[in-house]
């Protein structure tokens, strides 16, 4: 479904991604780990279509389409979803109205009729239950004044509403308490099926106890320097990143 080849990305003069290669197939769960500042969020943002970045080289295919050619909203329409590491607060835009606009925009992109108020509400109720999100959060402005954990939960709620084919969760586990982590993981696992895929960006093995990855990758200095199975995450948890850094000390 997603195929990244030799992706090189810079912000201004600073090169951040130095040739990323990654294949994600339907039904898979990939975890991306790596030290702070290694480029994980950059990769996620470039995939979602943030415009501050300059793509210097490489290509990204999503279901056979050139992803980098598409506007952010078209990528969402194609089935890409990014749960942000730091979801932005948008005062004055109600969470519910926003969701309705999002759901119907994506339906429109796919040639479907907009959901009417009744069906939208029905779907919302169902998905609210799945991630145990409180009604009161939804009548408020989008993320405004939400606690860190509430913001993360809201991201997963949006994911549940939009039913993407590829969800990239950028440190969605950070800032969640243990119960919330369990609930969010349960939500992700419930939505997971053989036709969709998840990329988990995380620093913590504990998330991977709940959402078990098929592959674990280590991103360091803008490259995937190691890939393995879920055991790699355990090894990282135990040993830290020093050995990775040493193995790759030749990287600039």
């Amino acid at each position: 479904m997603l195929s990244i080849r030799n992706l090189e990305v810079a912000i201004g003069d600073k090169k951040i991604l130095n040739g990323i290669n990654l294949e994600v197939k339907a039904g898979e769960v990939h975890a991306i780990m790596g030290p702070n500042g290694s480029g994980k969020s950059t990769l996620a943002s470039v995939l979602a279509g943030r415009e501050d970045y300059e793509v210097l080289g490489g290509e990204v295919e999503f279901f056979g389409k050139d992803l980098l050619e598409l506007a952010p909203e078209e990528r969402a329409g194609e089935g890409l979803f990014l749960a942000f590491q730091y979801p932005v607060e948008i005062p004055g835009v109600s969470n519910t109205n926003f969701l309705k606009a999002a759901v119907n925009s994506i339906r429109k992109y796919r040639g479907l009729n907009p959901l009417d108020a009744v069906n939208f509400l029905k779907q919302m109720k169902e998905k609210m239950k799945l991630v145990s999100i409180d009604q009161s959060l939804l009548s408020r402005s989008l993320n405004e004044g939400f606690s860190g954990g509430e913001k993360k939960r809201n991201e997963i709620f949006q994911m549940a509403m939009l039913e993407p084919k590829l969800a990239i969760l950028d440190e969605t586990d950070s800032g969640l308490d243990i119960d919330a982590l369990r609930i969010v993981s349960h939500g992700v696992n419930t939505l997971k099926n053989k036709d969709n895929a998840v990329i988990l960006v995380t620093h913590y093995q504990r998330l991977l106890d709940y959402i078990v990855p098929d592959y674990v990758h280590v991103l360091y200095k803008g490259r995937i320097v190691k890939s393995g199975t879920k055991e790699l995450a355990l090894e990282l948890e135990e040993k830290g990143y020093d050995w990775i850094k040493e193995e790759n000390s030749v990287l600039a």
């Binding site: 506007a71 909203e73 969402a76 932005v88 004055g92 994506i106 992109y109």
Partner: protein, 439 residues
């Protein structure tokens, strides 16, 4: 003919025609005298730095009040009057400054609301007039206030007795209609809200779209007595032939509340002066402003809040959405006098430039003479934030729709503060329509 000369030549005839009581004539004479001595402001005046009146004062205006009331075509004004989705309301209509009784109606009982054309109040409420009229909007230094005062004849006079809640709002429609010549008019309002009483007033400005120019030079004096509450809105939706210089002078007594929301949506040149004096302890004042303009509309909001006594608070939020070649000016003064300890005064001005040719200028001016006060101010000028835009787009919402949502939210932050719903809905609808939003 020179602007001033032209006006002054009208004065004697005007004075004879209106035949006011002696003490009003005295005020007129004195105001005209001041006007003739004061310069018409140019950008060299500090307070008029960004607002150039040269294309307004180069015209030879006819005085507005020319017996429109007797003509039969008043129906052309009903479109302006029926804009709010509300029938149960007091309405007064003024065309080119002249009161049109045929289009006006008062529904509030007379023990709740004493209301009339100002000229009528000159005779029927001479005591209140002597006590309040021209006592707050001083014309010593303000040429346009002096001019308005010299010609003050029509406009609303409102007196809410003590301990009275006026349940239905008063909507004042000022319509500028220059059908055959350029027209200047001088609506003058006096609003007195008695002790422990409350009132909602809306001033709405419209114009007919004609090849001629209009200049509406209005002054509203508001007296909010002890523990009274006045909710006041100014809505400006004139055509691009219409300009206005519009002064509100409010005085708030102890425990009084005065809220003004000014919404400027179109017109040629608008200068708003909002001056509020907090003349007692424990007053509470809100100044909200939304300026959402396009084309080459110019809006200049000058506000001044004068904290004269302790323990009062003022809250100011002005926002501008400036598109195409429009320009928005904000100048906000906060005075805290030495006696006004424990004052809370907040001011914020935020401007969004929606096009590279739009311009904004903002200037906070704080003068604080008391030491135990909380004051803050802040201003921003910039384009729409990229972060929220990206967030919305990443959820599938098109760039156009995402922009519309964010711009609407920015504007609605002000409109939400309008407590009288028909006015809020009216303004929201205009903004939404402009943004091409469905609902």
């Amino acid at each position: 003919m020179d602007f001033k000369e032209n006006i002054i030549t009208h004065f004697e005839t005007f004075k004879k025609e209106v035949n006011s009581p002696a003490h009003i004539d005295e005020i007129r004479e004195s105001a005209l005298n001041k006007f003739s001595k004061l310069d018409v402001p140019t950008p060299k005046h500090e307070e008029w730095k960004y607002t150039n009146l040269k294309n307004l004062v180069n015209k030879t205006y006819q005085l507005g009040n020319k017996n429109i009331a007797t003509s039969s075509y008043t129906h052309k004004y009903t479109q302006f009057i029926n804009q709010y989705d509300e029938k149960d309301v007091n309405i007064l209509v003024f065309v080119n400054g002249e009161y049109i009784s045929a289009l006006s109606h008062i529904v509030s009982p007379s023990n709740e609301l004493i209301i009339s054309n100002l000229s009528q109040a000159y005779r029927e409420h001479s005591e209140l007039i002597e006590q309040h009229f021209s006592k707050y909007a001083t014309y010593e230094k303000e040429a346009f206030v002096a001019l308005n005062t010299a010609f003050a004849q029509e406009g609303v006079f409102i007196h809410v007795p003590n301990k009275t809640e006026v349940k239905l709002p008063v909507i004042l429609h000022f319509i500028a209609d220059a059908s055959a010549t350029d027209v200047i008019c001088h609506p003058r309002n006096l609003i007195i809200v008695g002790k422990n009483s409350s009132l909602t007033v809306i001033e709405h400005f419209n114009s007919t779209n004609t090849p001629f120019s209009t200049l509406t030079n209005t002054v509203t004096e508001v007296y909010v007595a002890e523990n009274a509450y006045c909710e006041h809105y100014k809505i400006q939706t004139e055509e691009s032939n219409a300009s206005q210089i519009s002064t509100i002078q409010a005085v708030v007594q102890r425990d009084g509340r005065f809220n003004n929301t000014t919404v400027s949506l179109s017109g040629k040149l608008i200068r708003n002066n909002l001056n509020i004096k907090l003349n007692g302890e424990n007053c509470d004042v809100y100044m909200n402003g939304l300026c959402a303009i396009t084309g080459s509309t110019h809006v200049d909001n000058h506000t001044a809040v004068d904290h004269a006594m302790p323990n009062s608070q003022s809250n100011e939020l002005y926002k501008s959405l400036l598109d195409e070649k429009s320009s928005g000016i904000f100048n906000g003064k906060i005075f805290v006098r030495q006696d006004a300890q424990k004052t809370n005064a907040y001011q914020s001005n935020r401007n969004i430039l929606l096009s590279p040719t739009a311009k904004a200028n903002t200037k906070p001016q704080l003068e604080i003479w008391a030491d135990d006060v909380k004051c803050s101010h802040g201003c921003t000028i910039g384009a729409l934030d990229e972060e929220p835009l990206f967030y919305l787009r990443s959820r599938g919402i098109s760039e156009g729709e995402a922009r519309a949502m964010l711009v609407f939210a920015f504007a609605d932050d002000i409109l939400e503060r309008i407590k009288y719903e028909p006015v809020r809905l009216y303004a929201e609808k205009i903004i939404a329509q402009r943004l091409g939003m469905e609902e």
